[in-house]
């Protein structure tokens, strides 16, 4: 029969079932897990049905769609949290417990004293049952409140493992409708009790902490920027592509605009521009691509050109005027005079070059902005 069902229909049917389940399970979650309907994100569901004790690794959910404006970040944040946080992070531990020989009346007092609505029952330190507030009401109603726990406790217990994720815990609450779960560790020892309230408190607590961290990080960023501004520091990063002759000069153009706006003398400006331009064209002509970082402060402009290979075979030779390995296209465009590196060196107040075959080249040059003498 299954062979007769078109594949597409089967898929649709399966999806509908999944949606129904998902809706049912998540309907009363404090934070809706919208847009996490990707397979890895709902993996706990499959294991729920099997009732397996081992939980699959829950990857961070991918956010496809978030409800409402401005909620996106926060929801995704909570989503991350419910996958990250474990039952042991949220549970009340150690739990308030009683033994099988205790009376229901004493349990009633325990509940009142600790403001709880369920008490796990232990026999020789092993979890054997649970008494909920409902059992107490029934006992009061039925007149057996002074009898021992043994014959009235609920023995059919559903437990959670302390390493379960909170998203799985929430799913279990939705699935069973219980107000609390005893929590067992890997050795089947009772280590805590978890309620929906515990999960909410835990999430709020972590959200608050993350928010504080974010505020602190922002403050650091602002401080760094302020320090940069005070030092009049500007950093321009530019990726340079191999063979991209059309873009040559764009970086040095930007750098010149910044320097000109700062009233740097034309000669100094020109030297810095030539270094940036030659470094840029070197990467375009000779390398597989690289990056140029230009850092300008009140004292000097630093130009760092790093490429990802192939490296210069002989830097001493490359530093000689007229020596060039530029290809025919570069030469056709007027490059490959064999003057690039010598030009850079001549224009720079500080200059270093390191190159390793197969690794790449790292060129660093600096020009002091205040110096009056001109080299070109």
């Amino acid at each position: 029969m299954s062979a007769a069902v078109p594949v597409e229909k089967k898929r649709v049917a399966a999806k509908a079932e999944q949606n129904a389940n998902g809706h049912k399970r998540f309907k009363s979650m404090p934070v809706r897990l919208t847009g996490t309907a990707r397979k890895p994100a709902i993996a706990p569901e499959g294991t729920l049905k099997a009732g397996a004790a081992e939980e699959p690794a829950a990857p961070a959910p991918a956010i496809e769609k978030a409800p409402g404006m401005g909620e996106k970040r926060q929801v995704s944040f909570v989503q991350m949290l419910v996958f990250e946080l474990r039952v042991r992070d949220a549970m009340t531990s150690p739990p308030i417990t009683a033994t099988t020989t205790d009376s229901l009346r004493s349990i009633q007092h325990l509940m009142k004293a600790h403001r709880i609505s369920g008490v796990p029952i232990l026999a020789n330190d092993v979890l054997v049952g649970i008494v909920s507030i409902e059992d107490i009401i029934n006992a009061l109603d039925g007149g057996h409140i002074n009898e021992s726990v043994e014959q009235w406790m609920c023995r059919k217990i559903v437990t959670l493992r302390d390493h379960f994720s909170l998203v799985r815990a929430v799913a279990e609450f939705d699935r069973h409708g219980y107000g609390r779960f005893p929590v067992l560790d890997a050795n089947n020892r009772l280590v805590g009790v978890i309620t929906r309230g515990d999960i909410t408190v835990c999430l709020m607590h972590h959200l608050e902490r993350r928010a504080e961290e974010a505020v602190a990080k922002e403050a650091t960023l602002v401080a760094t920027r302020a320090a940069d501004e005070k030092a009049h520091r500007i950093v321009i990063n530019t990726d340079v592509k191999s063979g991209d002759f059309e873009s040559a000069g764009k970086l040095s153009q930007r750098m010149r605009e910044v320097l000109r706006a700062r009233g740097v003398a034309p000669e100094i400006l020109r030297r810095a521009a030539i270094i940036a331009y030659e470094a840029e064209t070197n990467i375009i002509i000779h390398s597989l691509g690289g990056r140029i970082t230009t850092a300008i402060d009140a004292i000097k402009v630093r130009i760092k050109a790093v490429d990802s290979g192939p490296g210069i075979e002989n830097t001493d030779l490359a530093m000689q005027e007229g020596w060039s390995t530029a290809g025919p296209l570069a030469r056709e465009l007027g490059f490959g005079a064999g003057m690039g590196l010598p030009n850079i060196k001549r224009c720079a107040d500080e200059f270093t070059i390191q190159s390793e075959l197969g690794r790449g080249t790292r060129l660093q040059a600096a020009v002091f902005l205040q110096k009056a003498d001109t080299r070109l």
Binding site: G249, S252, Q253, E278, G334, A337, G338, M339, R346
Partner: protein, 115 residues
């Protein structure tokens, strides 16, 4: 002997039968530099000169701008693309083209008083 009037751009136009590609201003040139190697121009050209070259690539404009070169004369009738001409105009670099070879143009410019 330097003829002051001859070092001004429009006056030199006729000497090399050049055609302007951008608007020309009445500017005095500080001299002339001839090279088809960009790095050579970067290293050796003085600001304010007329640069004579056969290259019509965008990088000519970049180099000219970097060296504060006043004007570029393309020889052998070469002419850059419209976008490059527009870029030069935007950067305040004047562009001209002449049907003469670089050698011929150099001779005429020298004769006209551009030293």
């Amino acid at each position: 002997m330097k003829l002051k009037s001859a070092t001004k751009l429009p006056a030199l136009l006729t000497a090399v039968e050049a055609r302007p590609l951008t608007d020309l201003a009445e500017v005095e040139l500080s001299g002339c530099y001839i090279s088809d190697l960009l790095s050579d121009v970067l290293a050796n050209a003085q600001p304010g000169v007329l640069w004579v070259t056969i290259h019509v690539h965008r990088n000519v404009v970049s180099v000219a701008s970097m060296k504060d070169i006043t004007a570029v004369l393309f020889t052998c009738g070469r002419k850059p693309e419209a976008a490059i001409i527009a870029e030069a105009a935007e950067k305040g670099i004047m562009l001209l083209t002449t049907p003469m070879t670089t050698y011929e143009a150099a001779g005429k410019l020298w004769k006209a008083g551009l030293r």
